[in-house]
């Protein structure tokens, strides 16, 4: 039957093409002395993740690690199942260590435990996995949230109307933020009233739309508790012909530029993207047998705009932004700051991949 033959031939051709483009995924040839470290990432849609990946790549490619580390990056969609599948593929290749930015704090645990059981070192960072067998490098969401709400409470002198961003309902950071904010407001700032909530989904578009809706409903808004894009909040206020208000949000250069332009008091969560590089260093230390703390909050400094330099009760460090270090007046708005840590002289341009 000619059609069957055609089918077979075409499938064969497709197969050949695929095999060609996929290429051998296994370890690169050459020195087997190198530590094979695989970074499993589950999202590329925002600005933070690519910079995190770039940071890891830059560190792994630096003179110090170039000859020791073979870093491979594996990206999947945000679905935990896909990351589990990807991790299993990775485990099958038996690397020395896995660095994981997890799609879920719990879902990957059984899989990561399989990796641990096979002697693979697991380091979970950013969105951590909670399995006890892994080293973790988390942020302290609760402390950050407490500092944010205390900062805003102090700026507003304990009274006023505010909006609250529920983030991406269901994910740990949003749940923690909202819980801590709500509790702290009730306990310490009874005169601050949450007049509206919106879900920024940590994306500029929804943040703009969410704030816009609340502006229509509320003639007076004095501040915003958010973990997202202050620049979008400001855009919403300006489009409505209203004056932007003190706000909290991500440590993204664009947020900082906007607050400086308006001399607005703003609070930036310290969540630098170089944690990818830190995780590589941590993995090497562990593989070399050095003792490192099992769980270590990787960054404990938050940042304030120049107009926000006030004293407030805080658990983590709070610093006013510094040009060239944690702020770049003419740099790309996408840049997550600070860029450089410790001895690693990462440049903004390098982190942005240009």
């Amino acid at each position: 039957m000619s059609t069957k033959k055609a089918l077979v031939a075409l499938m064969g051709a497709a197969l050949a093409a695929l095999a060609g483009c996929a290429g051998p995924p296994q370890q690169a040839a050459g020195a087997t002395e190198k530590y094979t470290i695989v970074l499993s990432n589950n999202y590329m849609g925002n600005e933070w993740r690519p910079q995190m990946v770039n940071g890891a790549t830059l560190v792994a490619g630096s003179p110090e690690y170039r000859d020791i580390v073979d870093l491979q990056i594996r990206n999947v969609d945000t679905q935990p199942n896909l990351q589990i599948a990807s991790l299993q593929t990775i485990i099958r290749q038996k690397p020395d260590a896995i660095l994981v930015d997890a799609a879920s704090p719990t879902a990957l645990n059984p899989t990561l435990e399989q990796a641990c059981a096979q002697g693979i070192k697991v380091i979970a960072f950013d969105q951590i996995a909670q399995t006890p067998c892994a080293h973790t490098m988390p942020q302290d969401y609760a402390a950050e949230a407490a500092d944010m709400v205390n900062w805003l409470g102090t700026v507003l002198q304990g009274k006023g109307n505010i909006l609250m961003d529920t983030g991406l309902p269901g994910i740990p950071i949003s749940t923690t933020f909202v819980d801590v904010w709500t509790k702290t407001l009730a306990e310490k700032y009874p005169d601050i009233k949450v007049v509206g909530t919106y879900s920024s989904q940590y994306a500029p578009g929804p943040e703009l739309q969410g704030v816009s809706q609340q502006l229509a409903a509320n003639t007076r808004i004095d501040g915003i508790l958010s973990g997202g894009y202050i620049s979008s909040q400001i855009a919403a206020f300006e489009k409505a012909g209203r004056t932007p208000v003190p706000a909290t949000g991500l440590d993204i250069n664009g947020n900082m530029q906007e607050c400086e332009r308006l001399k607005l008091p703003c609070f930036y969560i310290g969540a630098p993207a170089f944690v990818g590089g830190m995780a590589v260093e941590q993995a090497v230390k562990i593989l070399r047998g050095e003792t490192v703390p099992k769980d270590q909050v990787y960054w404990d400094t938050n940042y304030l705009s120049t107009a926000a330099d006030i004293d407030f009760p805080h658990q983590q460090k709070a610093e006013v932004i510094k040009e060239g270090e944690s702020y770049f007046a003419t740099g790309s708005p996408s840049l997550v700051t600070p860029v450089t840590y410790g001895p690693n002289a990462l440049t903004a341009a390098a982190v942005l991949g240009s």
């Binding site: 059609t3 996929a22 990206n75 199942n81 589990i84 719990t106 994910i171 749940t175």
Partner: protein, 327 residues
Amino acid sequence: MTDLQLPAAPAARPRARRRRPVPWDLVAALAIFLVLAVVDLVLQPALADLGQIGLLLQTGLPLVLVAAAQTMVVLVRGLDLSVGGILAVATVVTASAQGGGPGWIALALAVGIGLGLLNGLLVGPVGMQPFIVTLATWTIFDGIALKIMSTDGGTPPPAAVALATGETAGIPNSVLVVVGLLVAWLLLRRSRFGHRMVAVGTDAERARLNGTPVRAVVVAAFVLSGLLAAFAGVLSSGLTASGSPTIGDRYILTSVAAVVIGGTSLLGGRGGIGLTVLAALSLTLINDIVAAMNADVWVTTAASSGLLLVLVLTRGLVARLSGRRVT
């Protein structure tokens, strides 16, 4: 009419029995699956091991079941956008066990049946468009999941974990579940109810002329869909040893894609879970192949879509060359 008395012969003359037509949809779905399996094996020889296949299968299992759930509804010419929501509710219910027994699995499945029933009643007796109904219930179910569990966590009963990741007599349970699903489908397809579903999906009005209780069949299809989606949730909870209120959304489009890639017609009445399972496994293989690629993120993204397109376009081309129309 003619008054010529006709010999009875022409009418009664038996024709040569025709050979059964080639089941092209099955051949195509199978070919796609095999090509991907071979590619994956070439890339990862370590996969040629029952244990590894079990591991691969267990991650693909929730998709297989959600896609099967979608198939039930598509067969009666519907569409279910709420399968992801039902899956999410089922994972959080299962994970609410916190050391409880397998009763929680039963509860999760019962909830799935209930949610499916709600969809079915709105579409069947109330008579609303399935698209609108399930678009709305999708967000409702997501909300319910979020009410039950505000973020990822919880602990499913050990039975759920064993079901998803364990093995029985040396055979991974994931393999057994797939086999069980296929057997169940074959029985259903051959059952009287299966015939009713095909009839309703093919032409609801004609089915009614034949005395089919059309709306009851539609309701039943949604109920089965709810049950299967909930089972996907139970397995997902077992696989991840936890529950997640946000896990479902990404499954929705993929489930429809799996149904269509398998060859089940969105116009109803044709296809079945067997084809869908093959397609869902094909999608799992694509993910596995892409996961094994150590390349830039754009390359892997392009590869996963590209692989899919190459396969369906090839299939379309072959069908065209052989003068067949694709469903």
